[in-house]
Subunit: 120 residues, 2 copies
DNA sequence: GTAGGAGTTGACACCGGTGTCAGGTTCGAG
DNA sequence: CTCGAACCTGACACCGGTGTCAACTCCTAC
């Protein structure tokens, strides 16, 4: 599929898709005229990239771990280096703390919302 | 207490504390010489502010909702305007989605980490 | 063949919380 | 009184994913 369709199906802007490719997160074939052509599995990959971005990982780290991820099509996945494992373990801890914060903040928001809605 | 102690006790930089004040998130008394002086309850407030920042809220929105939060010392809390409630409800939905993403990403990280550790 | 929608590269800008430096003032222990 | 640590204001810079504009080329339905 072409970039417009991929953008639409993933909810990610065309601009961002090009950026992902520039950062080595996404690859594409090119048509004779130079247009990008993506396989079906690009959809899942882009969604996963988006999730990792949302989790606060940098494009650099995502680029490192992507080849180690079990892909949707079950391709051969590389084994992370000890260095990378350390890095990801730290990220995991950060994400854990972040989730805790988010749950707390959601509660706080609910309090404010409830206080206003309850006395409406 | 003074700003240095508050920074140390909350884990937030002095720079950030001044910024919070500039944004109307935090107030302080001033000594004769112009140094900031914080009450004990500032600690809780700063931590809560940090949590909300971590949740992706802007300082502007935090400033709006702060007076509506039930404070640790049970001070009188204002009631959020309908406009603000709408805003916070949207934020709540965003946070929900974010948590979902984070949990997914954590699983992905675990897979990569496990794959590497398991075959060590 | 041609119009116009979709694609290409490149460049500039933004956001907004935080780091950091400069140059000066205040605080408090000795 | 004095000295060093802590504090003050103001300013500049950064990060990094994304929006947007320009100028141009490709693709396809007619």
């Amino acid at each position: 599929m072409r970039i417009g369709e991929l953008a639409e199906r993933t909810g990610v802007s065309v601009r961002s898709l090009r950026y992902y490719e520039q950062q080595g997160l996404l690859t594409s074939e090119r048509t004779a005229g130079g247009h990008r052509e993506y396989p079906e599995r690009a959809v899942d990959r882009v969604i996963r990239i988006q999730e990792l971005f949302a989790a606060g990982l940098s494009s650099k780290k995502i680029a490192l771990m992507l080849p180690c991820m079990r892909d949707a099509d079950g391709g051969p996945s590389e084994i992370a280096t000890p260095r990378l494992v350390d890095d990801l373990t730290a990220e995991r801890a950060r994400i854990d703390r972040l989730i805790t914060d988010l749950v707390r903040s959601r509660e706080v928001l609910d309090e404010v919302i409830d206080a206003a809605s309850g006395r409406r």
